[in-house]
């Protein structure tokens, strides 16, 4: 019985990955293009990157995105981890389904709906729109992602370690803080990273709940992208892709190391 993927499989993967990576590679390539005509190669340059640093509107938008990303990812990580803990360790409690539905619905919900509903809430309770409202909104829609990642990790690991700690007299919360938390730390880090990148990337929700002066990076990119392709956006995009790729690879390596460590233990 043949177990390999065969030539058809190789073909499917080659075409699939070419489709996924070609646009990204072309974008990066053309961010070094010394020509205003974006689709004609005019030689190598780094001037678009140099221009970014002096583009104040872009830099302030990036700074806004960074602050919102760090704050919202932190809130989402705390909430998501608590939800994952409750779903994984509390057995069948009243409201379990409702909690899971509330946490995971925003993950699949079309963004326009989440965005509109949060904005109407902020207007109704008279909360000024700005970095704070974007942070709350981002924390709301990324919590489910964190809960999913941490939950997956919790369902994998050996519960007897917690039980051993409790047999030796640790209270459940103490056992969780000293035994469980260190073991799921990589998943928590990965969850934080995902929440951060999702926040950094969000356009629709931020556009609804932002106020004057709280333009985020995707909002700025979007308003320029609607006017057509430009080398500046190619450069910003390449920087974003590079930053996120490095962050993701770091998180992946951390998760893998932790997994190996546990298996060895």
């Amino acid at each position: 019985m043949k177990r390999g993927m065969g030539w058809n499989g190789v073909l499917a993967l080659t075409l699939g990955f070419a489709f996924i990576y070609a646009p990204i590679l072309l974008l990066i390539l053309f961010s070094f293009n010394d020509s205003r005509l974006v689709t004609v190669w005019g030689g190598f340059t780094t001037r678009w990157y140099q221009g970014l640093a002096s583009n104040e509107a872009l830099m302030s938008a990036a700074w806004n995105s960074l602050r919102v990303g760090v704050a919202s990812a932190t809130i989402a990580t705390v909430m998501g981890a608590l939800i994952a803990l409750a779903l994984a360790r509390f057995g069948k409690f009243r409201g379990r389904g409702a909690l899971a539905a509330m946490a995971f619905a925003p993950v699949v919900m079309p963004e326009v709906i989440t965005a509109l509903s949060l904005l109407l809430l902020f207007v109704a309770i008279d909360l000024d729109r700005g970095a704070l409202t974007i942070t709350i909104a981002h924390a709301t829609f990324t919590t489910g992602f964190v809960a999913a990642i941490v939950g997956a990790r919790l369902s994998l690991f050996d519960r007897s370690l917690e039980e051993a700690a409790m047999d030796l007299g640790a209270s459940p919360l103490f056992a969780i803080a000293l035994v469980t938390l260190p073991l799921i730390a990589p998943a928590i880090l990965a969850g934080w990273m995902l929440a951060f990148t999702l926040s950094l990337d969000d356009l629709v929700i931020a556009s609804f709940v932002s106020g004057p002066g709280s333009t985020t990076l995707p909002m700025r990119i979007y308003s320029q992208a609607r006017l057509g392709v430009s080398p500046d956006i190619n450069a910003v995009g390449s920087v974003l892709i590079a930053v996120v790729t490095v962050a993701v690879l770091t998180a992946t390596v951390a998760l893998k190391r932790a997994g190996e460590g546990e298996r060895a233990a």
Binding site: M1, K2, R3, G4, M5, N8, G9, V10, L13, G16, F17, F19, P23, L27, F30, T39, V78, L82, I83, L85, A86, R89, F90, G91, G95, L99, M102, A105, V108, M109, P110, E111, V112, I113, L116, S117, L118, L120, L121, V123, A137, T140, R159, E162, E163, M166, S171, P172, L173, T197, D201, P218, Y222, A225, V229, I233, L240, I241, V244, V248
Partner: protein
Amino acid sequence: MSAPHAFGRAARFAVLSPPVVFLALFFLAPFLFVARISLSQSTRAQPPYAPQYEQGSGLEGLRAVLEGLNFENYATILSDDLYLSAFLTALRIAATSTFLLLLIAYPIAYAMARARPALRPLLLALMIVPFWTSFLIRIYAWIGILKPEGLLNQALLALGLIDAPLEILNTEIAIYIGIVYAYLPFMVLPIYAVLVAQSHDLLEAAADLGCPPWKSFWLVTVPLSAPGVAAGCLLVFIPCVGEFVIPDLLGGSETLMIGRQLWSEFFGNRDWPTASAIAVILVIILLIPFLILRRLEARGEEALK
């Protein structure tokens, strides 16, 4: 020893109350506001809907608000061709995209699942990493590829495959390309997950009984992968229906999907009640596949036990 009972009431309360309060405040309450405003009237006031609750008017004021609510926005939306066609366009494009994604993702997921175990983590990472990087930037990248003087047309002209540039950007085809591109991992990963967990014994048994590989693929592999296929389809169909960025950047002004209609009611016409009513109808439509998804997941969890 059963762990659930190990947690005292205080511990449970400490763990549960922050997320419950947070989600009730920022997920549940907002929907109540959408529902309420969808029953209001559009006005030129600030905020642009009526009736408003008068501060300090107590129960009387609340009753006045409730009496002012009506279903007129829903009647308007359901009787207006513009909104109906925007809903239908969104459902049609989402359904077609889901089908295209299934056709493209299944062979990829199948090949990944059949790859050598040592190779699988690398293939998974290659599939997931682009999904983490900017969605907006990746959609934007397609503008430069698809536009008339773009890279795709240049390549096709240079190869002599076409004589004149193809008109792809600002058509529905561009929307399909964008959606398939952005949502591919959402379809590949659930299918991969069921395929990789499938036991090989079944295929070997089929082979022993004289079943040719294509037939055992069709009779064994495909039916057993149904839960992954269903999960993948719902994971892409639901967000696709409300998709805004892809049709706006790649689809031009011709194709009106309901997500864009909601956006333009809100920002263009400043008609908050109509935008809210569109959101409520959208939620009701999407609740159906969402409930199916939850059910499948519950069944999957039970099967694992």
